[in-house]
Amino acid sequence: MGQETTNLETNIQNEKQVPISPKPNKRPKRKRVGADIDNRMGYLFISPFIIGTVILTLFPILYSLYLSFTDFNLIGTPEWAGLDNYKKMFTGGDMLFEKSLGVTFFYAGIGVPARLVFALLVAMALNKVIEAAGVYRTLLYLPSIVGGSIGVSIMWRQLFGTDGALNSLLTMMGLPTHSWLGDPDTAIWTLIVLYGWQFGSSMLIFLAGLRNIPKTFYEASSVDGARPIQQFFKITLPMLTPVILFNTVMQTIQGFMAFTPSFIITNGGPMNSTLLYILYMYQNAFEYFKMGYGSALAWFMLLIIALFTALIFKSSEYWVHYEDN
């Protein structure tokens, strides 16, 4: 925070030192009439978006907040239940709630760093490629485009199934096969590998970040005798920290909200070892018809995500470096 205030102060000082317009207090008055018309036109143009957001986003959000305090079986009318849904979550009445939370933390806790590291490594390799870079970039990004889809999840199920490609490969090499999806210890790992594999979007952002690092830094340091590994830790990584922050936040949010893989590939099994939180929320809302409880689960997840995002931002003071400081 200290940095920020000094930053602001210097900005203010700069403005004082260099007054651009001679009479700054007259400007807003002259502009006001025109600005109103401009604004009206502006609002008109963005009204489809605003109406859409209010009806399709804001209303469902607030409605689900209301539902989280009710007992609602989806086909009847909601009945006010006060804090019952939240009480049920936190008084140990729901073992699957705790279980699914644990599974989700494990999944995101390993999947997110794995994806980020992988994305960074690939981006660095790609940064060195000069010929046909576009082709490689597209090919590497492809899994992320199709990634969230049902199709890839079904393919994953086939790949890791008992008679799947992986086991066939193992048999060919004379190695023992394994029921990857049927074993509670390995099933979650197949989902984590899938998460890591879809590194495309973070990779592109890393790549853009890498391109922005001035070449002169590397040239100067190599004149001074820095080895590549030193360059990585002293130049690349510090210069990339804003991008790393952005990617970490985005991926953490995505990691907590993963649904499709566990829904399609394992449906939460075996023994609920892949029961991701959102899947459990879905089961409550649409399989057990407990929409009220499902909404409460959704709002708790919102709090968790907000908390983690805040923590990451708070910690960023200690590890993120901006060039302008």
Partner: protein
Amino acid sequence: MKKFLLMLLSIAFVLVMAACSSGSDENASGDSKGDSSETENTGDSLESSGSSDDGGSDEGSDEQITLRMAWWGSQSRHDMTNEIIKLYEEQNPNIKIQAEFTGFSGYFEKMAAQAAGNNLPDIMQQNFGEYVNQYASQDLLEDLGPYVESGAIDLEGVSDTIIDAGKVGGTLVGIPTGTNALSATISTAALEEAGIEVPTNDWTWQDFVDIATEYKEKTGKYGARLLEPGNMFDYYVREQGYHLFNEDGTGLGYDDDQVLVDYFTMVKDMVDAEVMPGYDVISQIKGLEDELIVRGEAAMDLSNWSNQIGTLEKTAGTPIEARVLPGEGNDKGMFLKPSMLWSIPKSSEYKEEAAKFINFFTNTLEVFEIIGTDRGIPIKPEIAGELKPTLSDVDQKVFDYIEYVTDNSSPADTNFPPAASEVLSKLEDIDEMIMYGEMSPEDGATQFRQQAESILGN
């Protein structure tokens, strides 16, 4: 400043993402629509239903009416039902039927979302038990009694027990599509090859275990598919003379947990001896066509309904025989139930037309010539009688089987509470833990009682 903007941006993202996650409650109906072929016409049907509302559903045969009809099932059922729809549309040119079909998983999720949006189809395939009970208790289903009285839906000659199965609290809310029973499906060729005698209808659980074990020893293949507790434990408690739920659906219907311990122990022993596969194998079966008995990897399978035997035999390519489930009290355990029910939601604009279609489905021989026994044995005796000689061998087998069960069964339980699906899913969780060796049968039985009572208690 940059940092502050980034922070703002991220907060905005969190909110949008959260919107997606909580919004998905509402949006899921849109998603699930993707897996059937009905989406493009929804708008049209809404418009036409709005504009032709004043005319009601009188005999004005020029008026174009679009009925929405929803069902779940396998691909072969989708194909056959679409054929029946085409037949009906040819005979009634002013009616267009818009089909919405999915597999069973996802069907009731989709219907629930439609119910919440007051957008249920005009003709709805319902499931007997807790599902129809729930829809009826929310007053969402039309009373079909008047339609039957007026003859719009002709149920002349249908036995009362069958009609009663479509009633909830004395009100007729569903017309059974046909009758159905649990069955032990047995690959006779597999057993005979191994030199094992095919069991008869008076077999006991011990016989079942012995045959399965012997088959495993002789061939190395599974004696039977894994028993999953949903239907199977329901049958098992009935066979012992109890019921899964008590009379008013507020608790379990058996007092001694030993019943469940015995069941768990029997299955667990067979899984440990690899006479039955565990969940790791079962979880990868992708639909009826992929079952172990179809692939020739198991000799017996106790978990199929009689209307599935046709599909099983066709895909297996070897004879599949049906027996009643094992146990000395199997006449107490076995029951006939409507395979499904046809219901008309109260929200429908065209109840008369929907009733006409249900009448067509119930009373037309051609319908059953197309669909065979896939939705159960026809409930009209004269249709069943006319149909039988025209049917394939396997469908005739199903007929004979249902005839046998009719004489050797007890009434189905109609007291499944709305929370039954959650209770049964707890039972499945516990069963899975036991089969993976994470829990003892005794602990499992105690835990199931605790959890079931806590769910049913509120």
